[in-house]
Amino acid sequence: MDLLANLLVGIEAALTPLNLFYCLAGVFVGTLVGVLPGLGPVATIAMLLPATFALPPVSALIMLAGIYYGAQYGGSTTAILVNLPGETSSVVTALDGYQMARQGRAGVALATAAIGSFVAGTFATIVLAVAAPPLANIALKFGPAEYFSLMVLGLVASVVLASGSLLKAIGMIVLGLLLGLVGTDVQSGTERYTFGIPQIADGIGFVVVAMGMFGLGEIVRNLEREGGVTLLVRKVTNLMPTRADVKRMVAPIVRGTLLGSALGILPGGGAMLASFASYSLEKKVSRHGSEFGKGAIEGVAGPESANNAGAQTSFIPMLTLGIPSNPVMALMIGAMIIQGIQPGPSVMVEQPRLFWGLIVSMWIGNLFLVVLNLPLIGLWVRLCAVPYHLLYPAILVFCAIGVYSVNNTEFDVYLMALFGVLGYVFAKLECEPAPMLLGFILGPMMEEYLRRALLLSRGDPMVLLVRPISATILVMAALALIVVLSPAIRKKRQAAFAEDL
């Protein structure tokens, strides 16, 4: 069995004391940022990236991954206890979770979220282990034309599944692609858009962009609508679900896990979409439909399973194709590049320890989450109540030190401040920052693949449409756009994002 042999490699890599430690650290920090409202996984991973540069690649990625799925878990705690989603993916959990807490069933809601997350995490890990190798094997046969098309598809898909104006999202992607080109052109050595500034001769650091847009920009947005947090439950008791609860949560957990695993693989999918879709589904199929919004346990079990499953399977396109499906994956790719690993299908072949170690660590991380977090619930409850005016200066401190330490240059700090302002302005104009970050990471890669594809085809751009796989991928991208732009679907899409809020 190949799979078993591979998993053994992974177990060996993940079970070293060092990697276990970083896995634990990752899920702990992840839960922490998930619990704290106003601090998201993108900003956190960006802040901690500089600290991981010195680590071996396996440990660094294990920890960063832990932050991501840990945050999905932590977000539910805040959603249930204070009716504030700690993460966007927990928005729907707040609907019924908070109502359960008001009925004195906070403990049960938290336990349901934990059980659902663990089941989903376990299943998604298996999906990842089974689905990734064949995908990577197909991708190994891809040429530059296919890669270029794949990136086009990835970028298009990342916006069709997002909310808001499609046209503006595409504009943000292109803007990101352009920003990614700043710096020295690898082929010719020409400095582009650097205006003679030596600090950006190697390009703008993606940590700078991510921290500016998602760290600083978010802080200003949060301060704008600053308000007090009222903690509903000071002490959580009685975590045990009743027999009836368990009966009602089984089916939603299974459905949420399957749905989340499937949606996570899609480019542009991931945790948030998965939780929204699961909530809508549960509401439709449940026999207790009228209870939704009033503390239905299904409304917690489904979405919480789905978001954890989605968070994990969204690693599949990143690990096998080197294509980020959301900003967190974009940061992971950035982390790999800094570690000297070329993201793409070759990672599995050339870095089996990294690849399988990461996958195995996810299951271990999920185990940590259950074992650690239910006993630690008292700590998280208190953290939910940390007022934002004490939190954001701390976020700023980590951002400033982090961005400065990458190159030891003040210039990066100034640039981060600039991107903070930009992030806020774009938020005001309802331009999503996430597509921009994806474009920013993919810009240089896309140019390189296009260059090679055209070189091989003697300058004929039709190569993208003549090669069957490349053509298929581009047609899929075009279809996705057409489908979303058609008026009927457009209305449905708007309704889907508005419905449950």
Binding site: L167, K168, V174, L396, V397, I401, S405, E430, L450, L454
Partner: protein, 150 residues
């Protein structure tokens, strides 16, 4: 008449950025499709972005939308200036001075600002950061810079 101010301004930004990218790229060799020069890809992208900008602007005259809500100038200014000051101070004044500046100034942005907890926070974060980043992780940053004779 502008019926969708958010779209209108987004579109203008896209147009300006796209045009700027394409115009600046004229200084770089264009190359050919066979051998793409450094100007090739950015010119395509710049043109595309400008076109998207035009489309968004045109749409803003047709489809109505909300007005742009007022800017939160105070938080924006404090957070930005505090961050920039960190950069200005961190080398000469050292990490300790830079962090206290950053925390104290940025905390002003909040409506809930109060002196006592903020000072405690500034001291706590500074000590924590020095212990973690400088002492434990070994980042090469001076704690007290040349300005203070450190």
């Amino acid at each position: 008449m502008i019926r969708h101010p958010k779209d209108f301004w987004s579109g203008l930004i896209f147009m300006a950025a796209g045009l700027a990218a394409a115009v600046v790229a004229r200084d770089y060799p264009m190359g050919s499709a066979l051998r793409m020069g450094p100007a090739y890809f950015p010119t395509i992208l710049g043109a595309l972005l400008a076109l998207i900008g035009v489309a968004v602007v045109i749409r803003s005259f047709v489809t109505p939308g909300e007005r742009i809500a007022g800017f939160a100038w105070k938080p924006l200014a404090y957070v930005t200036i505090a961050t920039i000051l960190f950069g200005v101070v961190v080398r000469g004044g050292g990490l300790a001075v830079a962090l206290v500046t950053l925390v104290m100034l940025s905390a002003w942005a909040s409506r809930s600002f109060r002196w006592a907890p903020t000072i405690a926070l500034a001291i706590g974060l500074t000590v924590f950061s020095i212990l973690v980043f400088v002492k434990t992780l070994g980042l090469t940053m001076t704690v007290l810079g040349a300005w203070l004779g450190g």
